[in-house]
Symmetry: C2
Subunit: 442 residues, 2 copies
């Protein structure tokens, strides 16, 4: 460690265990190991220095943004070095003409969005955590969000990357153009690789024209399945929503207890939908709703969507959370929702569900007692059933949170042994010493 401390500017390396501990976790219960130290990198060259040192000394490196991950991907392991990119906060370039930005990994997602808005543009991907999460973390997990239903996920907005490899070499992948097919798609490969293939030190990101006017629908339902069916109907009718979110009763109660939203006793679910132009057709397709309101006020919309973004924090007030992330084809969303309700009842587990419903991406949050080191057996049993049901419905284990450590146990069910072998082979190409976030993602 002395070599590393000497090689970097003063103040970049933290080794006091009381301090480093606060960098060792993400937002999950996953118990961290004890790191050797934390590097607070401020530039690409400091990342290079760090990775060269790590390669020389065979020290595992856990890259990290804001630590808002929900799969354990940024959890420290014993004897690792934590490499925080949170101080690399420069937006190196923002070109309104070409509708691109070049951002460093520590830029807060919403800050990039705000910078783009000054030019009538937006950065579309918006995970619920986007006021605190970083571009680097979003790239690591290929983060989704509320606007993905129309604009796609982080990978869809990523044109090129600057990456420091495990041995400290620098590569540039991709391009600044909207199209390009030179060589294999390394950009897409790094996005979603959860820090196991390289350390991203800058990303060329696509911006999009910000929509001028959005109409918002809020609809309450006395049955969760009815709400899910309305989602399927809205998609099937081709309404092209720019946001389509679902919250179940347990979620609404958690928000109500905290923010007092005046939840009606019979309400079992709420849908929030948004689209450019008129939202009348979507409102009409919520025919089973007990209450429907359409608004074109941006303030009302922000308030409503703000409540949705608080859902996870509201649930954390109820206990510890295992936040899950299954995604199914949109036509079978009602079946997935029914299965989750059924699993909760049979296992006696409290599950609060929110969904990026327009994507078929459901977040069942399994709530368990505070103080427990990890979820109790009935929660794992319930989660196992939910995962298997999602796969049986043609879905996937994780729509946007990543595999991290939490879902590695189930990974083989989705990918199979040959793909597992290919994953390991690719990992070996980029990181032959296995020092980049070992034990995660694959």
């Amino acid at each position: 460690m002395e070599d590393l401390i000497a090689a970097l500017p003063d103040g970049r390396v933290l080794t006091d265990p009381d301090v480093t501990e606060s960098y060792a976790r993400d937002r999950t219960f996953v118990p961290p190991g004890r790191p050797l130290g934390v590097v607070l990198a401020e530039s690409r060259d400091e990342v290079v220095t760090t990775m060269r040192w790590a390669t020389e000394h065979r020290v595992p490196v856990v890259p990290r943004g804001a630590g808002t991950g929900l799969a354990g991907g940024a959890t420290a392991t014993d004897g690792c070095l934590i490499l925080s990119l949170a101080r690399m906060t420069r937006i190196r370039e923002l070109s309104p003409q070409d509708e691109i930005a070049v951002a460093e990994p520590g830029v807060i997602t919403a800050d990039l969005d705000r910078a783009a808005r000054e030019h009538g543009l937006m950065y579309a991907p918006d995970p619920s955590s986007y006021e605190v999460s970083t571009i680097g973390g979003n790239l690591a997990t290929n983060a989704g969000g509320l606007r993905c239903v129309k604009y796609g996920v982080t990978r869809d907005s990523t044109l090129g990357l600057e990456v420091v490899l495990a041995d400290g070499r620098i590569i540039n992948t991709g391009r600044r153009t909207v199209k390009g097919v030179t060589g294999y798609d390394l950009t897409g490969l790094f996005v979603g690789s959860e820090g196991t293939l390289g350390v991203i030190t800058a990303a060329t990101l696509r911006l999009r024209r910000a929509p001028a006017e959005l109409a918002t629908v809020a609809a309450e339902f006395t049955s969760l399945r009815d709400a899910a069916s309305a989602v399927s109907a809205i998609i099937a009718a081709g309404c092209n929503p720019s946001l389509l979110e679902l919250m179940d009763r347990t979620t609404l109660e958690a928000i109500d207890e905290w923010k007092n939203i005046g939840l009606e006793p019979g309400t079992r679910a709420m849908l929030i939908a948004q689209s450019e132009g008129s939202a009348d057709q979507m409102a009409k397709l919520c025919e089973a709703a007990s209450f429907v309101a359409v608004s074109s006020s941006p303030e009302e919309a922000d308030e409503l969507i703000g409540l949705r973004r608080l859902a996870y924090q509201a649930k954390e007030r109820l206990g510890q959370c295992l936040v899950e992330d299954v995604c199914v084809p949109r036509s079978v969303l009602p079946d997935m929702i029914s299965t989750i309700e059924d699993v909760a009842a049979r296992h006696g587990v409290k599950i609060a569900t929110v969904a990026h419903a327009g994507d078929g991406n459901t977040h069942p949050v399994f709530i368990f007692e505070r103080g427990l080191a990890e979820p109790p057996p009935e929660v794992w049993a319930a989660a196992d059933e939910v995962f298997r049901a999602a796969l049986a419905l043609g879905g996937t284990l994780t729509g946007e949170h990543g595999v991290g450590v939490i879902k590695r146990r189930w990974l083989g069910l989705e990918t199979g042994p040959v793909v597992t072998e290919i994953h390991q082979g690719i990992k070996q190409v980029f990181d032959p010493l296995n020092i980049l976030n070992p034990g995660k993602a694959i």
Copy 2:
């Protein structure tokens, strides 16, 4: 070869050199080698049989669709086996609810689009060749097209793949859902890999809602640079065109000679633009035009766009063609266009340019004498300058055609030595015996 003939159903293997020769080329001048034979595979299992045999006997395999490639990617090499997927033409599934189709590689691109239209949907990627090119070829090159400016390229429409590996093992990558982050993005890696990593035997493709009404603008300019500047203005104003094409005088003359379109003597360039709803703002931004017409008639639009799609065939009437494919950031399209004009003049080379201008993707077509085995030195010199200019402008060597064999000479200029090493490492993971389309793409 006897083993292979015995292992496959009757009629699947062609060995007569007079017959196999017609499968040995793509649409380029690249001189083919002499193949051992051609397999006309009709199913995934026949592909498996073929690849097992190729692995056992260390025979290079050149996968092939309709042979409309423009980079030499499907050119036969001496002693190779050509594996045609053109007979695998089943659309295995088309789900209007989930807006996906599962198509085999031999499906003609426009046929898939037509099948989707029956449900109010479309398959968006539409290379100019889409009435004859196949989904498999489109996937191999990550093909673009006219509608990409709004809907993205082939990779953006690909959710999952069924792939036969070099040794005959089968994997499924990706998903049926619109989101998913389980494991590395192998789907994106196979798309655009030009048959060097595996043989795609089915693809789960995203369909999109077909637009209800499109308005079309046609504008003529007395200067090519003015037309390119109008493109930049249209993009910068956020018009969100669903098509934005540019043709230069040489292209228009070639079409005029063939189809007699009544080309005005002073016209140096034509823009065709389309958007949902109104096209008035785009028409207004063509302020430097000598003639502008706006139409909402689908028949007129089809006729106009049909002429654009004929551009390449029209140029083939003038001589042999080296069709290039540089893509630059959209703000510098006028500079790229001026450079191409300047290079043509200085080298005394006839270059006819069309562009998917809304993407900054330019196709300068270098026309040279029929009968020559390959482009003469001045054509290569001119092309070299165009490639280097595109890179200097922040662009890429190939927007949508792929590297094939033609652009391998320049590849290192764009990717650099470390990326080249990574490409080779990835190739080794998938194809350790180097039997899949060796000598292409990377």
